[in-house]
Every structure is written in C-alpha cells, then in structure tokens.
C-alpha cells in the first residue's frame, strides 16, 4: 500500500456514494414513468371536481371552513384510489412473476420496494397538493381576511401517506387480484365509520372519532374569533404517521417473514435479523416498527384525554397552549349608511352591505323607541363553551348576532340561497329581540315564541319594511288581520302607538283587539 493509494480512498468512497445516489435517482425516475397512478389521475380529478371543489365553492370564503373539505371530502376520494393503487404497485413483482428474478439483483428487497413505494407516494402526494392548491387559490381570490391554515394539509398528507403505506404493505404481503379493490373498500368503510363516530362524538367515546380525519363541517366562524387549537391535528398526524412508520418497518421485514414460513423450521433471532438483505437492515426495520407503534399508541392515549374547549373545539391538556384560547385581535368592518351602524368581522365583510340593507328599514321603524338598538354587531358564535344567541344588550343597546344564528334562522353566513328569506331572517331576528319580554328566557337553541300581539306588530313592521313575514308556528288566526290593520297606519301613527304601548306589548298584556 502506498500513500497515493490511501489519499485516493475518500475520493473513491464519495464517487461510489454519488453513483449509488444516481442509480437510486434513475430507479425512481423509471418508477415515476411506469407507475399506474398517472393513468387514474383524470378519474381522480373528475371526482375531486364534483365532490371537493363544488362542496368548497358552496361554503363562504372563510379559510377554516373551506379547508375543512380537505379532511371531509378530499381525503375520502384519495383514500379510495391511494389504497388500491398502492396495493396494485406493491403486488407487482408477484403479479409479473419476477420475484425470483428481482431477488438476484444486488439491491436488498427493502430498497427495491422503497423505490416503488416512493414513486407511488410521489404521484399521490403531488396530486393531493395540487388539489389543495386549487382549493386554496380559489379561496385566496375570494377571502377578505385571514390566511391558509396548514394543519388540515398536514393531516390530509399524513392520511394519504398512511393509506398508501397500508395498501402497499397489503399488496406485498397478500399479492392477490382482489387485494386492491377489497383494500379500497376497507379503507372507505373505516373512513365513513370515523365520520359516523365524529358526528356523534362524546368526551367518553371520542377516541376513534378524534383520530379520524373525517368530521362534520366546523361552525361558519371557526378560526375567525379564536385560533383553531392544533391539539387534535397534532394527535392525528402522530397516529397516522406512526402507522406509516411501522408499516415501513414491516416492509423491511417482509422478505424475512416469508423465509421462515417457507423454510418451516425454527430460526434464532440473530439469524433472522442477519438473513438475506444484510445485518443492518433488519434491526433498523424492527426499530421502525417499534417507533411507529409507540407513536400511534401515544396518540391513541392522548386522544383519550381530549375534552371540549371553550371555543367549540377539542383540547388535549398535554398539547394545549393557552394562547390559542385568546381572541384574535381584529377591527370589525362597519357600515352606517342611514344612521344605523352595522359591524361584522372582516372575514365576513362581503355580507356587510347585505346585512346593512336588510336591517336599515326595520331599524328606521323602531328608531327612538325605548330599548331600540343604535347599531348591530356580529359576535362569536361560541363563548365560554356555550352557543351565543342573538339579542339586544348593553347601554346604549346593541343588537348582537352571530354568523351561525340570527333569531330563528341558522347558518345565515353559510350562504344566501334565497335573498328575500335571508333579508327577512335578519329583520325578524332584530324585531324578535326588540319585542320580546326582556326577562323571557330562551328555551334551547331557539328563542321563545312571541305572543299574538307581539307577532302581529312584528309582521306589520316587516311588511312596512318591504319584507314578507314568515308564517309563525302556532300563531292565532287573528294575527294576519291585526298585522294588516297595523301596517296600514301611517308610519308616524305606528311609531307613536309603539312609543306609548311598548312596555305593555313586551310584557304581553296587550291583546290583538287592542292593536289600532
């Protein structure tokens, strides 16, 4: 050995390493070229458009709400194809009967399978991220406040990876023609069972529901007044990531697991670990399985400690940050065209003109009367763990409503399917709060119904404001006639009568016949 030879060694090692990387790169390029996923992408794109894009487009452009389609819809579509296609790719060597041929190559089986897996995963993740980009770009063009939430993307990507790993491993271990469709169906059943559990989740039975990425759409103003706590998404990523890591380890052991079974004799642990692909790969695979199981088990245990948080989500004490319970500082967008101020959160500023136009005529009818609100303001729909109801409070009086509920109407900020009904809903909500007895407590989520005289006055004021009143459930027969009579009065006469009799009307002592 000479000094020259010694000095050349590091260079040779680097060159060998580079050659190895280049070979792996070539393998991956070939795999990307031959992978079946691109052929199914048009079909996946079609169902993505029909399901995810159309559902997201039906929601108002609020980031958290729009991002919820990633877990609720997009992952369902990807699960159907990711699991099946990964199983198809995983069973390729057996399907083509090249198992023995491929075993003669210098690469260990784990490396070969990893390249196939990486190719499948690359295509699926690329398609997934392209879908997320399509939803987020559409939202960014329409949203008036906030930014893209990243946790739903992480959860969705972890879901795609976990389903792909499950499918690929099943394809390697059970290489049958029925593996792909049965696995796709199995994953979809699991997903829908998770949704079923999520829709009826309780603190005691919520582990599976919380670990499942499927969920009901959040409230319209989720993530608007308070940050969405990342506790549950962290647990979900940990759980699904743990499954993926454990299955990667199982793939490393796949060849070893097959050999003892075929040999049909007992082998020592040392021989088992050292067999075939080299002594280092098997222990690494065992460690990966252990780490994956530990991560998933930890996530499972953490999900068991979850409890409802004060702003409508779930908190996990070990992961929870008190900072996420603090309100997001924001200046509301306001309009006061004809003196009656209306304020909404900037995330809903596209509704501001509509709300102001709806409330202005009714506010003008009751302006100056005792307890009449000087302005209307949108507030958070959840506070202190309770649902907030619309009503008039404070001094000077302010009509407070939420994006979820105004009077008897729910989901007012979810969209405007019928403009006249939407407008009348706001007006009726304001008048319900104005005419109801101040001490009249609401029973459940719906405000207490008005008395006959109160209802007639409300209908008359709505008619005067140019709206069609909703038919009140259980209202007496004389209400429409009394309302018509009262609406026929000049505005000044109505106003004067209300000024004189408002307290008695609110107390419920005015009868229908007493209305002018």
């Amino acid at each position: 050995m000479t000094a020259a030879g010694i000095s050349l060694r590091p260079g040779r090692a680097t060159a060998r390493r580079l050659a190895g990387l280049a070979a792996a790169g070539r393998l991956l390029r070939l795999e990307l070229k031959r992978n079946p996923v691109p052929y199914v992408l048009p079909l996946l794109a079609a169902v993505f458009y029909f399901d995810t894009v159309r559902t997201a487009a039906g929601f108002p452009p609020v980031w958290t709400l729009r991002a919820s389609v990633i877990g609720d819809h997009m992952l369902f579509e990807f699960s159907a194809f990711a699991g099946g296609l990964a199983a198809w790719a995983g069973s390729r060597e057996r399907r083509r009967k090249t198992l023995d041929l491929a075993a003669t190559t210098p690469r260990p089986e784990w490396a070969r399978l990893s390249v196939t897996l990486a190719g499948t995963l690359c295509w699926l993740l690329l398609a997934f991220l392209a879908g997320v980009a399509a939803i987020y770009i559409q939202t960014a063009l329409q949203a008036t406040w906030g930014g893209p939430p990243l946790w739903p993307v992480f959860v969705g990507a972890a879901g795609v990876i976990a389903v792909t790993m499950i499918g690929f491993t099943c394809g390697v271990v059970f290489p049958s023609r029925f593996t792909a469709p049965l696995l796709a169906v199995g994953v979809l059943v699991l997903y829908r069972t998770g949704l079923r559990a999520a829709l009826s989740v309780t603190p005691l039975s919520g582990r599976y529901a919380l670990l499942s990425p499927a969920n009901a759409p959040p409230s319209v103003d989720a993530g608007v007044y308070y940050h969405v706590a990342p506790d549950v998404p962290i647990t979900q990523v940990m759980f699904m990531g743990g499954i993926a890591i454990a299955l990667l380890g199982v793939l490393g052991l796949a060849a070893a697991l097959r050999q003892p079974a075929s040999a049909g004799r007992r082998t020592s642990l040392r021989a088992f670990l050292a067999r075939g692909d080299g002594w280092l790969l098997r222990p690494v695979a065992v460690i990966l399985v252990a780490c994956g199981v530990a991560a998933s088990w930890t996530a499972f245990a953490l999900a068991g400690t979850a409890r409802p948080d004060p702003v409508g989500g779930w908190e996990i004490p070990a992961l929870h940050s008190a900072a996420s319970d603090q309100p997001v500082p924001v200046t509301q967008d306001c309009a006061s065209g004809s003196g009656f101020g209306v304020c909404v959160h900037p995330a809903f500023s596209f509704y501001l003109d509509g709300v102001a136009a709806a409330l202005d005529p009714v506010a003008a009818e009751i302006a100056g009367l005792p307890g009449a609100p000087a302005r209307a303001e949108e507030v958070a729909s959840e506070s202190g763990g309770k649902t907030v109801m619309s009503g008039i409070s404070g001094s000077p009086p302010v009509f407070e409503f939420t994006a979820e509920q105004v009077g008897n109407m729910f989901g007012q900020f979810l969209g405007i399917p019928d403009t006249a009904a939407w407008r009348a809903g706001f007006q009726q909500g304001l008048l319900d709060a104005f005419l109801a007895k101040p001490s009249q407590p609401a029973k459940g989520p719906v405000p207490a119904p008005l008395g006959a005289a109160q209802q007639a006055v409300e209908d008359a004021l709505l008619a005067a404001a140019g709206s069609q009143p909703f038919p009140a459930r259980g209202a007496s027969a004389g209400v429409p006639a009394a309302a018509h009579r009262f609406a026929e009065l000049p505005a000044s006469a109505r106003h004067a009568w209300l000024a004189a009799h408002l307290a008695a009307l609110r107390a419920g002592t005015i009868k229908l016949a007493q209305l002018p």
Binding site: D51, F81, A180, P181, V185, L188, R196
Partner: protein
C-alpha cells in the same frame, strides 16, 4: 408376440373410471383461471362486513348518511366481480373455441346473482336502509360499470371506475341529487333508476361477453 396384445388398452387406475363431462370441466377450468372461488370468498367477506356494519351501527339508521356504508360495500362486491374478468392467458385464449363468450356471460351474471344473495344474507335480520331492492340495483349497476371498464383497463384494474362512481354517488347522496343516473341515491321503487342501472348492466355485460376484457400477456403498469 401378436398385434392383439399391443392394441389392448391398459387397465385404468382405480378412481379414474368416472370421467367428468367436458363441458363441466371446461367451465371449472374457466372459473379457476378467473379466480372465481377466491372471488366468492371475497364476496362472502363483503357480506360479513355488511353484517358487522349493520349490527354494530357503523352507519346511521336513517337520513342521507344511512346509505353511505352499504353503498361502499355493494360497490366493493361489484368491483370484485369486475376483477374476476381478468384472464391469465391473454389473447391466445380467444382462438380456443366458440364457448368463451358464453362462459364469460354466465360467469359474470352468476357472480352478480351470488353477490346479491351473499350481501342479502349478510343483511338478513338487520335493518338495511333501502332494503334488498336498492342493494340489488346498486350491485347490478355498478357491476355493469366495472365490466365496461374492464374493456379499457383490463380486468385487474376494472375496480377503478366503480370506485370513482362510488365517490361521485357519495356526493350525490349528500346533495340529494335526483338524476336516475345516480341510482344509488334514488328510492327503492324508482323506475328511472332501475332502467338506468339495468341499462348499464346489460350494456356492460354484452360488451364484456362479446369483446372480452382488454387482454395483455404482461401488464405494463
């Protein structure tokens, strides 16, 4: 030595004197080459999963969500039938005689009937939303889609289009679409939905019978 001794047939070994008729043997070989016995086992698994889903209330009992899980399992059964379309012999099999289309026809139709029977057996005694009519219609229609798909993708990937249709119908279910082409969403006795599902099945079955699945000796993907 005379010629008489040479032409005498040797005695048949014990147990082989009863010969299986050629038609039955051909049918059995056809079914085995398509992995039909394993397919029946897969259909039985689907029936078992349906029973488990209904028994342990994995799905809702009523409302738009009630059809979700049964529909997935029915689509799975249809996908299994579509996958049995694959032949390991490829194009060369087509030169072997005239009986192949009939074998294809009876295999697919028989598997479809068996799938309905096994799924109904799984749902027996449980409350299945829509009942056996919706179950049958879904299996029939989605099997037609799968068989038609096998003409393009080959038998092994014929499960992809049924899965796509399933995902599409899950959306249609929540949106309460009323088009007869989304037959899993329609009520059990809806005539338009039955016509559409039947038409798709007949078209798929006829094309599959006449043309056969796309055959390649080695798959490229």
């Amino acid at each position: 030595v005379t010629a008489a001794g040479l032409v005498k047939l040797p005695a048949a070994p014990a147990g082989t004197t009863r010969r299986i008729p050629a038609g039955i043997r051909l049918t059995w070989l056809h079914l085995r080459s398509r992995h039909v016995p394993a397919g029946i086992l897969a259909l039985a698994v689907c029936g078992g999963v349906l029973r488990a889903a209904l028994h342990w209330h994995w799905a809702f009992n009523s409302g738009p969500y009630a059809q979700q899980i049964p529909m997935i399992i029915e689509a799975g059964a249809a996908a299994v039938i579509a996958v049995t379309a694959h032949s390991p012999f490829g194009e060369t099999e087509r030169a072997t005689g005239r009986r192949l289309p009939y074998l294809r026809l009876f295999t697919a139709a028989g598997m479809c009937g068996l799938a309905i029977a096994l799924l109904q057996l799984g749902a027996a005694g449980e409350s299945l939303n829509g009942g056996v009519l919706v179950l049958s219609r879904n299996v029939i229609g989605i099997t037609g889609i799968g068989l038609a798909c096998s003409l393009v993708t080959g038998g092994l990937l014929a499960w992809t289009l049924p899965m796509g249709y399933l995902v599409f119908c899950q959306y249609a279910l929540l949106e309460a679409w009323s088009s007869p082409w989304t037959w899993p969403v329609r009520p059990p006795a809806d005539r338009g939905a039955w016509i559409c599902a039947g038409a798709v099945f007949v078209a798929g079955l006829l094309l599959f019978t006449i043309r056969g699945p796309r055959a390649r000796l080695s798959d490229d993907s």
